[in-house]
């Protein structure tokens, strides 16, 4: 039995694959082509103005300037620093949660994911409130107790710290699912053959988790390197320039230097494409199937005396990444004056009030943003997950000749700064003769396009871990391929697909950079409302909306989680089921 699905057979063999490629190309490649065109042109490609007349490579000279090089090096430093930090935090929590007898494990799972509820922009705003050198709450408190010590978040370490703690959930989620789904047989074999725990962890567990670790590392590197909002809020006041802030400034110069911005974006894209390709080679060389038709739960590692200390370390992360930022935002939203001289001032009568929060919650702007955010996120999650599955299936389960092309397109946005993707999408959807521009759908398209690599990677990881024999067995027993997918593959991938759906949902709820050029007054989403308030200097309104924004995300997460956990209840009388939990 070949693995080529019947749906792809016959005269229409390539048809569906080509359709998928065309869809992905319109979503992803056309915007990028426009950015590329802009990078080698002297004018911005906009409708009615796509001229090939003034081609130049002059735009690229910008990268060779000291400022361009500094921004590039800073970006790499930020990417590496925060990827390492996020991986350490993420895999520590994942290990603690998935493989040990640490107390509060269920809560630790929440701890690992919780910062995802906080959009990077909001997290950055919060940490600027906490630790800006002269007005941060932490520094005011240090001054209050007479310590001559100033924590300056507006610095390279500060930037790495903020990105690291808020991107740790990526490391956590990827490593956790890999650890939780790990085939116990291999570890058991090691133990049976006398390997001590430490050796087993080193020689079996770690190598098995390697694709997840590597994948997470590259992902966080790419995401933090291209992160715009944090670099803008934290890096900019500290004069730490990164490529995205450099691009943003070029875009917002008067007149906009879009062509040079595009050239920087192209360089960044090429660089990250190389890294992504290298990582793909590493993964594809080995087989990492860890979910098969048989198996048992992986072994739990006893922590002994370290049970509580390690849990407390995890809780400190929770404090730093969730509790402190949210508290700071809440206080900022409730301050009766934006200026705080001592912490005790906040406890005086009338120093805090719910008025701003109340006004915000009732305001048209917030309510419209809320509605739009939810609609965009749900649509993007549904469309994105479906497309991700189709693309990953074509790549890993068919022998379609163009499957490598599918993967190439799917992974491309990873290497493209969301802000540049946003500009490309703006140009693209102004050109494409469908009435999408100016509607909520262009925001959905933006979210699907920008987060496609994450969705695709999530589904791919899940497909890679699923033994293909399971689906093929159904086909051999007479089921059509479609039926086999529907009754075997999809149910077995439910955890992976649900996670991907949730990932799309969360990421879209949080997205700012990609939609910054696409919204209209009717289609503002919450992230845009917060950024607008921040840019306009309405810090209290920004804090108030941030608090509500995070609450909304948390509520959506709870609903999604409730639905999701019902979906993947381990108590179902399904003989296959136990292998995944």
């Amino acid at each position: 039995m070949t693995s080529l699905p019947q749906v792809l057979r016959g005269s229409k063999k390539l048809g569906p694959v080509v359709v998928v490629i065309v869809i992905l190309a319109v979503l992803i490649l056309v915007p990028l082509a426009l950015v590329l065109l802009a990078s080698i042109s002297t004018s911005v490609p906009r409708p009615g103005n796509i001229s090939l007349g003034d081609l130049t490579l002059g735009n690229f000279a910008l990268l060779a300037t000291p400022e361009g090089l500094t921004a590039l090096l800073n970006s790499i430093e930020v990417g590496i620093g925060s990827a390492v930090l996020a991986l350490i935090i993420g895999s520590f929590l994942a290990f603690l949660c998935a493989r040990t007898n640490a107390p509060l494990r269920k809560f630790l799972f929440f701890v690992g994911m919780a910062p995802m509820f906080i959009p990077a922009l909001v997290g950055a705003l919060a940490w600027s409130l906490i630790a800006s050198p002269s007005a941060g709450f932490l520094n005011i408190a240090l001054r209050d107790v007479g310590l001559n010590l100033t924590i300056n978040i507006y610095s390279m370490p500060g930037l790495i710290f903020v990105l690291g703690i808020f991107y740790a959930p990526y490391g956590f989620l990827l490593v956790h699912s890999s650890m939780a789904m790990m085939n116990a047989d291999l570890e058991e074999a090691a133990t049976v053959h006398g390997a001590p725990l430490r050796t087993m962890l080193r020689t079996i567990t770690l190598p098995l988790a390697l694709p997840a670790l590597l994948g997470a590392g590259i992902l966080v590197f790419a995401l933090t390197m291209e992160n715009f909002p944090v670099a803008q809020v934290i890096g900019n006041p500290g004069k730490v320039d990164t490529l995205p802030t450099f691009i943003y400034r070029l875009m917002s110069a008067t007149p906009a230097r879009s062509n040079e911005a595009a050239s920087i974006a192209v360089i960044l894209t090429i660089g990250l494409l190389v890294i992504t390709a290298a990582q793909q080679r590493v993964i594809s060389r080995r087989k990492f199937t860890t979910v098969t038709g048989k198996g048992a739960r992986p072994r739990q590692v006893p922590l002994g005396k370290l049970r509580w200390p390690l849990t407390i370390v995890a809780l400190i992360y929770f404090l730093v990444a969730v509790v402190m930022p949210m508290a700071a935002l809440l206080v900022a939203a409730m301050q009766s004056t934006p200026f705080v001289s001592t912490i005790s001032q906040l406890f005086q009568a009338g120093a805090l009030s719910f008025r701003e929060l109340g006004n915000t919650i009732m305001s048209d702007g917030f309510q419209l943003g809320l509605r739009n955010s939810i609609v965009v996120a749900v649509l993007a999650a549904a469309v994105g997950t479906a497309l991700s599955f189709i693309a990953a299936y074509i790549r890993y389960r068919t022998k379609a000749r163009l499957r490598a092309v599918v993967e190439f397109i799917a992974m491309t946005p990873l290497a493209v700064p969301a802000i540049v993707m946003g500009i490309g999408l703006l140009w693209a959807w102004l050109l494409i003769p469908l009435p999408v521009y100016g509607t909520i759908f262009v925001l959905v398209i933006a979210c699907v396009a920008v987060f496609f690599p994450q969705g695709y990677r999530g589904v791919s990881a899940s497909i890679l871990q699923l033994d293909q024999d399971l689906e093929d067995s159904a086909v051999m027993l007479g089921a059509s391929r479609a039926r086999a997918i529907g009754t075997v593959t999809l149910p077995l991938m439910r955890v992976g697909l649900t996670s991907t759906f949730l990932l799309f949902l969360m990421l879209s709820m949080r997205e700012l950079s990609a939609v910054l050029f696409l919204f209209t007054s009717h289609t503002q989403i919450l992230s845009v409302v917060v950024f607008e308030q921040f840019e306009n200097g309405q810090s209290q309104a920004a804090a108030a909306i941030s608090v509500l924004y995070v609450m909304v995300i948390a509520i959506v997460a709870v609903i999604a989680q409730t639905v999701g956990s019902r979906e993947r209840s381990p108590r179902l009388p399904n003989p296959m089921k136990g292998t995944q939990e």
Binding site: V44, R46, P47, G48, N49, L62, T65, E67, K106, F107, F109, F110, S132, A135, Q232, N236, P237, K239, F246, R249, L250, M251, S252, A253, T254, P255, A256, S258, T337, P338, F339, V340, S353, F354, R355, L357, G358, N359, I361, L430, Y437, G438, F517, T520, S521, E532, F534, E535, N536, G537, Q538, S539, V547, M551, A554, I555, A557, Q561, T562, S565
Partner: protein
């Protein structure tokens, strides 16, 4: 997962309850604008005795929702729009972006034939001109504009409605009034080293005017001196204003309107000074878009902006009205220098075209910025 779910649900529930409970206590924050004395709508729209629109136009306009694309500061534009809607009953949909992003949006939409604006407001003549070159504007003469010199620009394609005023601001909690800078020269005396902010030189009409003022009026090495104070450079005026209000910087370049709104509506400890060398003012333009659909509402909005009432609203916000028969008021207890006086440096549109690009290059070099 249950614990997690409960934990989040409980947290959100508590917060939501508190928030909703607090709503009752909410009220409108103090506004910088005073109500119009008298609005009559029997025979068209008449405010304080001045005819803003005839009956047919006004009746039509009231059934429409105006689409405004604005490059004006969001807080200030909101104040104006609130006053407009309050006075006229006409609703406004606002797309607010900084001028440089706005022009990108407008030109793209215009090129695609999808421009959704009825009226557009922007600073920086170069930006307005690039829109003009793309056929974005539609000629419209506001009533009585011909009585005033040089307010109707490029044959009536757009109209100068007011000037924003750039000056020095400070945090009143960090700086005592007696210690506050009194001149632009003070700013670079060394006293404010490391405590000072500025907005990047290429952010729009505001910084274009400020750059020209510094380069032409404060001496050839003023920029270098400013840069040597190690200022924090912000991307937008809004971000700098926030930092000033929170005390991250003690002094910085501000707009009078932004400071006024921040101090009055947000109760921020900020104020401004009128430096001995003067303040810097830069034009804001408003015009009908060629894509205008709600023509009646757009015309009423234009007329309102140019009416005495509209001009007074701008003055109360803290801007220089374009009309010479409306005086700039006293803001935060500080009397602004008369429009066009020695202390009001206004950048001419011709100067904008002539100098802005080179000035920005100079600025970027001196501040080691934006490359």
């Amino acid at each position: 997962m249950k614990i997690v779910t409960k934990a989040i649900a409980l947290g959100c529930g508590v917060a939501l309850t508190l928030t909703l409970a607090a709503c009752g206590a909410g009220g409108n924050p103090a506004s910088v604008v005073k109500s119009a004395q008298k609005v009559q709508t029997k025979s068209g729209l008449v405010i304080n005795g001045e005819q803003i629109a005839d009956k047919a136009t006004y009746d039509k306009a009231r059934t429409q929702t105006l689409s405004l694309y604005s490059g004006y500061s969001a807080a200030s534009e909101q104040v104006l729009v609130d006053a407009f809607t309050h006075d006229t009953g006409i609703k406004v949909d606002m797309v607010r972006l900084t001028p440089n992003k706005l022009v990108e949006r407008v030109l793209s939409e215009q090129g695609a034939g999808k421009l959704a604006a009825d009226v557009i407001r922007t600073s920086d003549y170069r930006i307005a001109k690039s829109m003009e070159d793309a056929g974005v504007w539609k000629k419209y003469d506001v009533p009585s504009v011909s009585k005033f010199a040089a307010l109707s620009i490029d044959g009536g394609l757009f109209t100068r409605m007011f000037n924003s005023v750039y000056t020095i601001g400070y945090n009143t909690q960090l700086v005592k009034k007696a210690d506050a800078p009194t001149s632009w020269a003070d700013l670079v005396s060394g006293k404010w080293k490391g405590k000072i902010g500025i907005v990047q030189g290429g952010s729009g009409g505001s910084t274009a005017a400020l750059n020209r003022f510094m380069l032409s009026k404060l001496g050839p090495d003023y920029l270098q001196k400013y840069a040597s104070q190690k200022p924090v450079i912000y991307d937008s005026l809004g971000a700098e204003a926030t930092a000033l209000a929170r005390g991250e910087i003690a002094v910085g370049t501000v707009t009078i309107s932004g400071t006024n709104i921040s101090a009055t509506q947000d109760k921020a400890p900020v104020t401004f000074v009128v430096p001995t060398e003067g303040v810097v003012s830069y034009d804001y333009y408003l015009g009908l878009a060629s894509s205008v659909k709600n023509t009646a509402a757009a015309e009423v909005f234009m007329n309102y902006n140019f009416s005495k009432r509209g001009q007074k609203v701008f003055a109360q916000i803290g801007e220089y009205p374009a009309r010479s028969d409306v005086a700039p008021p006293t803001i935060l207890g500080i009397k602004l220098p008369p429009v066009g006086s020695k202390l009001d440096y206004r950048m001419e549109t011709t100067d904008t075209v002539k100098y802005s690009a080179d000035d920005l290059k100079t600025w970027n070099t001196v501040f080691g910025y934006n490359k």
